[in-house]
């Protein structure tokens, strides 16, 4: 009995650990998408942030410096995305993909040049990492709590504040926002910057909290899973949070299942288990969503003169 309870608690803790970067990323992406800027580049921002967090923490010995560098790195990419999509009305998906490719390449190149470990940063320990606060076994570092708080925060900002009202409006009918005397560009830039902040935190979590250093391509598609969570959550913070937890749980179960022999089947191949979250994404995206409720102007550059 006690063993079962321990197993459940351990699985839940693992769920939360795995879900934290997804939640942070999803809340950030939510702000961007609500404003009408699709952010396929979450993955790249998170990866870049993870690299700079680990690199900075390793060089300075301070985890907090690492967090700061992560946010800065993600914001630079966010501004790049904003510059391409808002100022120059470029294609948002193309810009996002470009950011992903840039991050994938740049982290490896810089990592190899600076540390010479095949793209990895030196292992981090002690104050170079964000360590658990209350339960050392559960891995409840500060960013886990930040992620949990980010959900009600996002809900409150979007539903209860002036900024949120304008954000929702600009993602639906930007022309109406313009006609109401509000700058469409400035609103969208702010949304993109908030997104960068959260993606930065998510990246820092990966390399200096959950893991002890950066390894190449360590985001492994989590930015895209966060994007999927936004869609399952129908662009609302609480359901998106639920979707992140579901992915986290699936991942946690997958880790538990590795090496376990199932009756009649035998050992389940690791690759199949690891593919589960992605398969779920595919199935949910294909069938479960039904009618879309995406912000109407998502992906459409705002052009005043026609």
């Amino acid at each position: 009995m006690e063993e079962a309870l321990t197993l459940v608690i351990a699985t839940l803790a693992a769920t939360l650990r795995v879900a934290t970067p997804l939640v942070l990323c999803a809340m950030g992406g939510l702000f961007s998408e609500k404003s009408g800027i699709i952010d396929v580049g979450l993955e790249g921002k998170m990866l870049m942030a993870a690299f700079f967090a680990a690199a900075t923490a390793s060089l300075t010995g301070s985890a907090w410096a690492g967090v700061g560098a992560a946010i800065l790195a993600a914001e630079v990419l966010a501004l790049l995305h904003g510059f391409a999509c808002i100022t120059h009305r470029g294609n948002q998906v193309v810009s996002g993909i470009a950011i992903n490719i840039l991050a994938m390449g740049l982290t490896v190149v810089l990592g190899t040049a600076w540390f010479g470990r095949g793209g990895q940063t030196p292992p981090l320990a002690g104050t170079e990492r964000l360590n658990p606060i209350f339960f050392p076994v559960a891995g409840d570092n500060i960013l886990v709590y930040v992620a949990l708080l980010s959900v009600p925060f996002a809900w409150w900002v979007i539903e209860r504040t002036r900024f949120g009202l304008r954000l929702r409006a600009v993602g639906e009918v930007p022309l109406a926002v313009d006609a109401a005397g509000i700058s469409v560009s400035w609103l969208r830039y702010r949304a993109v910057l908030i997104c960068g902040l959260f993606a930065g935190l998510a990246g820092a979590y990966l390399s200096i909290a959950q893991n002890a250093g950066f390894s190449r391509d360590m985001t492994a598609g989590q930015g895209f899973i966060a994007l999927a969570a936004i869609i399952f959550g129908r662009w609302r913070p609480v359901p998106a949070f639920g979707a992140c937890l579901a992915f986290g749980l699936l991942d946690a179960i997958a880790i538990r299942l590795q090496g376990v022999k199932l009756p009649h089947v035998g050992e389940v191949p690791v690759q199949l288990i690891q593919a589960l979250p992605y398969l779920l994404t595919l199935f949910l995206l294909a069938g479960f969503i039904g009618r879309t409720v995406a912000p109407k102007a998502a992906g459409v550059p705002y052009e005043k003169e026609h």
Binding site: R162, A169, E172, V173, A176, D178, G181, S183, K304, E305
Partner: protein
């Protein structure tokens, strides 16, 4: 200008604006007196909307001056216009469908970083305005669930809530029933009496004559005339707008009806979500008559045309097209319809009538591209197509007469003429026309209507769907009124009166 400048709420001086190679406004100057209703009339593309967008800060003028209450001002963005007390009700509403009325009202004037206070204040203010002007709207309703008339009311309330002293309305009645339009006119008079300056942009002369104090006429980007409303009339204004005499009455001989070419019996259409778009539609169109379908936009007319033209199969009932039976089990596609002799001029010109990026010559054969002489053995015959297009352009007065020009580069009226030419050139037995003159200027309207009557006289069965009641009244031999996906009334053209039709269009009365 003998009056004092200080009496003018708005004064525009020599405003000039070009979009690329299009010179939209050419040195336009005008004055709007405080506390008056001023109409600005002109054909589509005359520059009236552009001029007002400049006043509202949505576009920047290339040259010229704007004076509000006699003081020169800079209108860099709508913010400036709002700060100077200008409010605008746009032709396409600037509302967020998924928001409540209240949320829409406070957007841009939230009264603080948190919403709660602003929402409460707006709710109180709304109740006051509702009492004062009779502008009642449910503050908690979602805008998507409101009728078009109510949405417009929200737009006007939005402007009043910001304390605007100058109200600009761009084609406000384009989407309203006659009754809703009358109600709007009452509200505008009430606003004027309370000291609000109203500018009304429209191409409907009836409204101008009914409600304005002064009329400004624009043509090709210029202000060409200014009249006291009491000292002018529809004929003079129309002439000023077009630059030549215009005949309003379409003299046509009585219809000589032949056999039934198109019949629908108990047609219904239910969409994937179970919404009943068409409900028990029965109608027939005979050779040699024009049947007009009147109704406020969005009451099933679009779907009816889709079903009749074979784009969507009906889910119930049947129809007979040139003796071919069509029902849910025996659907028909638009190509077969075309072979049967049915031609269709769709409502949505740019999405269904043509491909904007295609050349005019390609547009002129769209749907007929696999026939001789345009195509032999899978290869297109460019010169033949070009020649054919030139002939059509000549016959239907499409300008410019350039088959090699992209379709998108023609004006709305000329695009429409090209599509009509394409569909009518084959002497169809049934002609379905949706919104024949939407976005078309007065000169072309006259031409298009005459062509439709000519086609009728040649023995074609013509079905015209239009949201312009005046158009239905002038064209149709028989009028059917649609409301909520049903046909709610039928009137012979001679006995039609606008008021009764308006009530039917609003679903208030069945004939």
């Amino acid at each position: 200008m003998q009056e004092l400048t200080a009496d003018a709420a708005i004064e525009l001086r020599r405003i000039d604006k070009s979009f690329g190679s299009v010179h939209a406004v050419r040195g336009a100057s005008l004055r709007v007196e405080r506390g008056s209703i001023t109409g600005i009339v002109g054909e589509n593309g005359a520059g009236k909307s552009t001029l007002m967008s400049i006043l509202y800060g949505l576009h920047r003028a290339d040259a010229g001056e704007i004076l509000i209450d006699g003081r020169p001002v800079e209108m860099a963005s709508p913010r400036d216009a709002i700060d100077h007390g200008i409010g605008m009700v746009h032709q396409h509403f600037m509302l967020i469908d998924s928001f409540t009325v209240l949320e829409n009202l406070i957007l841009g004037a939230e009264g603080g970083a948190l919403l709660a206070g602003g929402l409460a204040a707006a709710r109180a203010e709304l109740a006051r305005l509702a009492g004062e002007y009779g502008l009642a709207v449910d503050p908690d309703a979602r805008v998507a669930d409101l009728s078009v008339g109510e949405q417009q009311r929200v737009e006007i309330l939005k402007v009043l809530l910001r304390g605007a002293r100058i109200l600009v309305l761009d084609e406000p009645s384009a989407v309203l029933t006659p009754q809703e339009t009358d109600r709007l006119m009452q509200i505008l008079r009430l606003l004027r009496d309370r000291g609000v300056t109203v500018v009304l942009i429209t191409h409907k002369l009836r409204e101008i004559l009914a409600v304005t104090d002064k009329v400004i006429v624009m043509r090709r980007g210029e202000v060409v005339a200014e009249r006291r409303t009491t000292e002018t009339g529809a004929e003079e204004l129309a002439e000023l707008m077009v630059g030549r005499k215009v005949r309003f009455d379409l003299d046509k001989a009585p219809a000589r009806k032949g056999e039934t070419m198109l019949a629908a019996r108990h047609l219904s259409l239910v969409d994937g979500r179970g919404v009943r778009l068409l409900d028990d539609i029965s109608l027939e169109v005979r050779a040699g008559e024009i049947v007009g379908i009147a109704g406020v936009s969005g009451n099933g007319q679009t779907e009816l045309l889709q079903v009749l033209s074979g784009i969507r199969p009906p889910t119930g009932g049947e129809m007979e097209v040139c003796r071919r039976k069509v029902d849910a089990a025996h659907p028909v596609d638009p190509a077969e319809m075309r072979d049967l002799g049915v031609a269709h001029v769709p409502e949505d010109r740019l999405r269904q009538g043509l491909v904007p990026a295609f050349l005019a010559s390609e547009t002129s054969i769209l749907g007929y591209q696999d026939r001789e002489p345009f195509c032999h053995n899978y290869l297109m015959d460019g010169p033949a197509v070009g020649k054919y297009c030139s002939d059509l352009m000549e016959r239907f007065d499409v300008r410019p007469r350039t088959p090699g020009l992209r379709s998108a580069n023609f004006s709305g009226g000329n695009q429409q003429k090209l599509i009509l030419a394409r569909e009518m050139a084959r002497n169809p037995r049934v002609l379905l026309v949706g919104q024949p003159t939407r976005g078309v200027d007065i000169g072309a309207i006259e031409f298009i209507r005459r062509e439709l009557v000519k086609s009728r006289d040649a023995g074609c069965a013509v079905l015209v769907v239009s949201v312009e009641l005046e158009e239905i009244l002038s064209l149709a031999d028989r009028i059917l009124v649609m409301f909520g996906g049903r046909i709610v009334g039928e009137v012979a053209a001679g006995e039609a009166d606008e008021r009764a039709l308006g009530l039917m269009m609003a679903g208030a009365r069945a004939a």
